[in-house]
Subunit: 384 residues, 4 copies
Amino acid sequence: MRRLRLAMVGGGRGAFIGGVHRMAARLDDRFTLVAGALSADPEKARASGADLGLHPERAYADYAAMIAGERARADGAEVVSIVTPNHAHHAPAKASLEAGLHVICDKPLALTVEEAEDLADVARRTGRVFVLTHNYSGYPMVRQARAMVAAGEIGPVRVVQVEYPQDWLSAPLEATGQKQAEWRVDPSRAGMGGSLGDLGTHAHQILEYVTGLRVEAVLADAQSFVTGRRVDDNAHLLLRLSGGARGMMWTSQVAPGNDNALRLRVYGERGGLEWAQEHPNQLRHAPLGEAPRMLARGVGALSPAAAHATRIPSGHPEGYLEAFAILYRDAAERILALEEGREPDPLCTTTPTVADGLRGMRFVRAAVISSRAGGVWKALDVPT
Amino acid sequence: MRRLRLAMVGGGRGAFIGGVHRMAARLDDRFTLVAGALSADPEKARASGADLGLHPERAYADYAAMIAGERARADGAEVVSIVTPNHAHHAPAKASLEAGLHVICDKPLALTVEEAEDLADVARRTGRVFVLTHNYSGYPMVRQARAMVAAGEIGPVRVVQVEYPQDWLSAPLEATGQKQAEWRVDPSRAGMGGSLGDLGTHAHQILEYVTGLRVEAVLADAQSFVTGRRVDDNAHLLLRLSGGARGMMWTSQVAPGNDNALRLRVYGERGGLEWAQEHPNQLRHAPLGEAPRMLARGVGALSPAAAHATRIPSGHPEGYLEAFAILYRDAAERILALEEGREPDPLCTTTPTVADGLRGMRFVRAAVISSRAGGVWKALDVPT
Amino acid sequence: MRRLRLAMVGGGRGAFIGGVHRMAARLDDRFTLVAGALSADPEKARASGADLGLHPERAYADYAAMIAGERARADGAEVVSIVTPNHAHHAPAKASLEAGLHVICDKPLALTVEEAEDLADVARRTGRVFVLTHNYSGYPMVRQARAMVAAGEIGPVRVVQVEYPQDWLSAPLEATGQKQAEWRVDPSRAGMGGSLGDLGTHAHQILEYVTGLRVEAVLADAQSFVTGRRVDDNAHLLLRLSGGARGMMWTSQVAPGNDNALRLRVYGERGGLEWAQEHPNQLRHAPLGEAPRMLARGVGALSPAAAHATRIPSGHPEGYLEAFAILYRDAAERILALEEGREPDPLCTTTPTVADGLRGMRFVRAAVISSRAGGVWKALDVPT
Amino acid sequence: MRRLRLAMVGGGRGAFIGGVHRMAARLDDRFTLVAGALSADPEKARASGADLGLHPERAYADYAAMIAGERARADGAEVVSIVTPNHAHHAPAKASLEAGLHVICDKPLALTVEEAEDLADVARRTGRVFVLTHNYSGYPMVRQARAMVAAGEIGPVRVVQVEYPQDWLSAPLEATGQKQAEWRVDPSRAGMGGSLGDLGTHAHQILEYVTGLRVEAVLADAQSFVTGRRVDDNAHLLLRLSGGARGMMWTSQVAPGNDNALRLRVYGERGGLEWAQEHPNQLRHAPLGEAPRMLARGVGALSPAAAHATRIPSGHPEGYLEAFAILYRDAAERILALEEGREPDPLCTTTPTVADGLRGMRFVRAAVISSRAGGVWKALDVPT
């Protein structure tokens, strides 16, 4: 299978998620990084390109130049990865799509619901592949959970508990000049949600991904525990889901002892499923009235969806990068299928897209509005 | 130390919690069971008394007879344990107090807030010892957590997560004639709360016990997932706590794979504490920025409060009955101190009392009202 | 069911295991403590008797006086619990049996194999009930494991891994005057095995109890890591079991971070079982080729043997004392059945007896001889 | 940093470990696969080369042709990865070294001690870099453990427990034609050790890597539980380590419920360390007398050695492939430093080499001889 030519926006020296995207893109060997607009600082963009072995003329000063430059080449980039902070997703993503490029975009989708709606429109109009890297949906046991719910193995879903606590913002880290902290607590770059935007969108996505349900309404109580912080660093949410299920969500950046403790628990009429991101190779399945089973990646008879996302035998843990890389692998298949005029492998079609990103943005907005109103139910699709 | 003479109301053949109270009373050898009104069915009361080795004339047909009979004896009971369903707490408890007897009462305190208020008044007026068996507060590591929060080891509390899921009512067990299920889903015997009354009062109590904070307001979304059930079997709550802390609570009887999965997590400015009832001998302590420590009963330097509740060396697990028995042991000390006109050992004075029970009843009422109103904040002390 | 009259040898003030036996005897209400020879120090014996509420004339100065005194009474003791250090088991046990009393004896059975053989003879001759408190065999999930192996659920056993590490003797605690440490590292009181005698006998017993196999030969490498210690504080053993199975055993008192980390793992042709004493309510069952199940006390369909040892519902942990108390409960049934001339409930007949204790002593002796010989296979039944 | 040109011997269609090596080589972008002798079957070699995007003329029919072909090119391979079964390591490794190529070789090093000695000689003589992929030593928390032991944080080591159980050969899988099983139980391809060769060499290496000690003597009891199997599928070992420490090792392919359950526990005078491969991002550290800490990759202050092997923040698990890739990254640094005539980054110099492989082969031989002799101590360096 041929390798796709990849360009990257953001991800220069000192960035975090750009390096993750590059490792993810390399792991399964479906992409070659050929170009980048790696930093808003031209000198840093150049140096970062050199670090990565890019040809100097393909280490562009900005995304517009990059798109123009690559369009002009016979061997120009086919796909653009966007790994900038949230406020800098919309413009390069839109420009890329309109230039006929496929897009792999970091989450959350955009700064505002309006931006997200616009991207959804453009993606629809251009017909390009758009993958949003809600990377947790690339874990084999998350796919297993989704397959089991879809197959009715736990019966109709009644209750969902999802939480994503961290502790890295327990103190005012943003005041120390730490770059990751700075932009993530700045509403002009992160959006209206703090923990809600950074963590809540993941929690929302994985909930919908696994259950197949939709969050229809939220009631939120969000706080900024660190003095002076302008976005929430902790949020408590009640959820109403399609089909009558109910849920709770907790997001936090101020819960000492939690690193990336995303956890999803789904309870149906006939069983329960529990998964924790920090030990992702296991999935606890409790059929009602029977002893719980610890399903594990590669052990026994799992679903095709789990097998699809599994590279190595059971007992050899796969981690965050492997899950992330599944999204890249799925994206490659979707892009090639589109180009080749065929249906993609259906196992590659569950990766999150712009539509999931738009729902995520609506979720954050509804939660923030609910919380500001003192805790009232807010439907996700009601205009504000 | 002399053994106190104990009488019991409820707990005859086929009952569950009565046997637990008796084992708890025996474990530390501070009580001798001398009398009982063990069943509303006189024949069963008699047979149950014989099972337990009671003298036939002290196996009474009802609590009133028992109180009268015991008062008439020089060696009459000094303490009454009340282990009946919720609707049958108030009357025997009140009568016992008024007869000068001390009371150890199962939780929740009563059927209604009004009954609870009345009991609180009577207890105050009579000056008798009143212990409410929120047994989880007898676990050594729960006492350790309380001591650590009080000592400021995690800093001011910001966020509390408490949950108590079970699965035993996932199907309509009450329709099969199972006695425990029958009364617990019957509002006339259990009260207005289902999972909220049975589990939520425990969760509320342990939250307040460990943090030293008070639940000031709740916002609840309660459900009855099993068709026809007249009380909630699942409830999601947002909490506002004294001092500005916030919390979430989840109670459920329909979460497959959960037996008695009470779990408390408390996060302060400088650290976090996590405790799970099903593995009660451990307490995870995460000082901010350091590796989490797994504190364990008996290992290293713990608080006097934990040592007080510890009988055997580390690595030999103590369980539910041992925790329950701590409440009986503490009760004995409080009763003897009162009789002897001295101050009780302060380590014995943290056991839950009628005041905790009253707050618990207000908590349930506020939650039910909040949920019925569609999810609105409800202060605990506002008259309805 | 009537309560049996119990006397105790050892267990006075400052002792450890005596208190455990008393709590275990009380928990299920089948025994009344009526007499004791609680200490070799007459004054301490008297004071300890008063602590426990014994009638002064039944707080004897030594076991011989106690046996004589109790025989002289119509309401004299029927059963004797022996809770002294190892070197002081044989004499009171033998005298009790010969006086027609039943015996519940702490482990290991005696100081030497010769003493153990003598006790086995006396027990056989007198026909009295003799229960040896290898308490871990009272855990419900240990009984479940035994039942599953016996039922063939994991197929013929191939491999057994058993370990019992502690850390309390990592430093020379005996040099500080700590009583428990002092006698346990003194060969004249503990016997020839240090960790082998204290922990190895437990490990040996639980292995045989669960698998139904016998340890036929051992090869040991034992060490005394703490300078000057005269018995082993760590030992590594290879085992040959009846039926061709093989095993390993590790005992240690110098493994920092281990409290009472007894763990048993049994692997058969068709499945594996894993159990850990510090989390005793769970039993992991891995049927070959299927997802492992976490069996738990009270959940789903377990064996009658597990149900027999279970008092309270699933999710409410039972611990060390509850397991210990099962041995007392089983002993009571065996004694009453003997007195009543009937067969005991078969579920009560698996408790360890003098024969198990004798095998344990032979195991320790073989291990010590093997190690002293530099590590050679030693059959358990070969005379030395 | 420039990418090294990599060739691969073995790893064609249907192979397992070759794909792992390729993912590991790609992850940190220090290698480009340029050539291969991917299969002994020329047609499969060609097709496998096409799968991987090799230029057809660099998809060689055998390793000799590959070495010749690559030497003839200005852009020829600089490093050879050898991913064939054990019996096919020696010849291509030797030829590669003698052709001036660096070697990254899968473990165990060779079929026999003699082959291993020869490779050690050749590597010494040629001065080429030789990395042996004992991949578990690339895990950050394994490096952390090594650094802690070296820094004296647990004091002098007394006891080491290492085990590596699997279950995949519980039944005679080799009889079904499964390729991985077939060669691993064939002494002519796997060597004299079965579980000892495949798993024991890993266990031996990680033990020596973390403790800094050497296994000086072994006493083994190895079995072939599956009828007709010609190599061991389970082995129990006692170990004597340099400096007076003692150890135990268990390797198994017939322990149902174990996938790749490599676990290392090290106990010193002042603390203990415990690590399990299936949850590799954690390391339990128990300082004597204090609560155990759960160290985690990226949390708090860890060693430079752990930081060196860490790519992404705490709470985002890294797994098997990431650890494997650390060996490739370290190899790249060592090769480049050699070429550039400078000292390599010292953090890259702990990767296993041919010397470790030779010790591993001697370990297996000694264990097999010990077991065949009925279980006797066998020094590792004594000629047989």
